[in-house]
Symmetry: C3
Subunit: 208 residues, 3 copies
Amino acid sequence: MIEHPGLMLALSIAERLAIFAYAISGFIEARRRRLDPVGTFLVAMATAFGGGTVRDVLLERRPFYWVEHQNYALAIFVLSFFAPVVLKWTSRVLSDRALLVADAIGLGLFSISGTSLAMSAQMPWFTSVIMGVATGVFGGILRDVLCNEVPLILRDSRPYATCAFAGCGLYLLLAQTPLDAVYNVLLSTTFILLARLLTYRFDVRLPH
Amino acid sequence: MIEHPGLMLALSIAERLAIFAYAISGFIEARRRRLDPVGTFLVAMATAFGGGTVRDVLLERRPFYWVEHQNYALAIFVLSFFAPVVLKWTSRVLSDRALLVADAIGLGLFSISGTSLAMSAQMPWFTSVIMGVATGVFGGILRDVLCNEVPLILRDSRPYATCAFAGCGLYLLLAQTPLDAVYNVLLSTTFILLARLLTYRFDVRLPH
Amino acid sequence: MIEHPGLMLALSIAERLAIFAYAISGFIEARRRRLDPVGTFLVAMATAFGGGTVRDVLLERRPFYWVEHQNYALAIFVLSFFAPVVLKWTSRVLSDRALLVADAIGLGLFSISGTSLAMSAQMPWFTSVIMGVATGVFGGILRDVLCNEVPLILRDSRPYATCAFAGCGLYLLLAQTPLDAVYNVLLSTTFILLARLLTYRFDVRLPH
């Protein structure tokens, strides 16, 4: 679909960053619960690929992303055995802010990919928005359900799913214009990324 | 399948009532957990459409109900932002009894629809009963899992899934008679509705 | 696929044992939470058939095992109403060790069946391993999520999913050799069974 080679590369790097960030958030939660390595692996996999898998089940798409790119799953598997080291290394080399940015990139990429795939599958517009948001947030929900907590994104009043909602809506609007799909993906993903970072930075809260 | 226009209208009104009642029970739970609006929306959606979606994934039916009727999803979305107002209004205008009745209508309609669709898909009889019960109760289970509670319908000893079981069994029995399918749907749904209300009213308890 | 009649019988007996053991573990958990009979049934069903159902949804296989063998579901249904009696009887007649062995047989059979089906569906090798492990352990995860606990297999540091991992890996390795598929199933299942029992017996712990 997207044919600019430079952009392809950028998207592919962003995607790896995002999967890594989601997996790390699985590691952190698994660590807090003192899970063993295989438990850690399963939680990290659910966090990184849960959203996309639910989307693909709903849209009847195959193969699953983690089936097609099984090297990501393998990498997470290996890292799970060194999760304490990975987390220590991550927290030393990367600031919390870096993880926040990587996670926000993931939220943007996964949500927009979900909406875009739902539209290609001829879903009606609001369904496409919901599928985009679900793709972006379902991994985190699964992670918290597995670790027996009320999902963070449901109870945290800081906008998260809300940013994904707004961005997926923007994508749909722009899809009605003559704007190239590539730029639409870029713009909407960036919108979600910035919305997440700015609302976080300025501590915007939703009422609850 | 069903062609009486008056009955169609009645069923369609009952269906809206039921979806509304399920969504409201999602709002109530979300309020108790102090979820933000988007969290409230996701929980209400899971409650209202979770059972039907699981049934459709198991039976490989598409499109999903909430995809075909996305206006319901939109309405729930809008209401989520006013959930406190909606709940205050609901509790003032509608008694708890009204909500109980609407929820029991939902249990009846969703369960019988699940059994009837499973039978059309040539499922064996006990599987059809299970799929009916799952369609009726899975939304409530998802709601409670998302809100990190033992699902109410599993631990409450007041018959709920049990009423659905009995009604789906009745539907299967009547399907062996020459009775018109329309009247079978009506009778079995009413049976579940009454069973739920009467056991509730007379405080019938299951052993546990 | 497998044509030795004696072996078929042995596998079919092992399978019943395994389903029974998984269902019993559902009963035990349901009892602890004081669920009513229908709640008990749903939890036992989820424990016994959850893993295979998720595998079949992921691999797009139909009919589901519990649809094809609805007598198992019926048996679990009937037993659910006598769960306290069943548990008392089980604990008198069977030692904890017998249950542990039956559960380990289930872990072996379900995991190897999952890997073998995934391979037949042309899944890549690591995906096949993951699907095998998921088939073996997902039922227990569902049981604990429904009962609002951190899944035992994620937090227990005694190897469980790890044994399944190793056995599914062994199965894949042996599948590259000229060894007959029948013996491969037997060997790998036995490997998981023994790995589980021996690590349990000698109290081997994973780091966490």
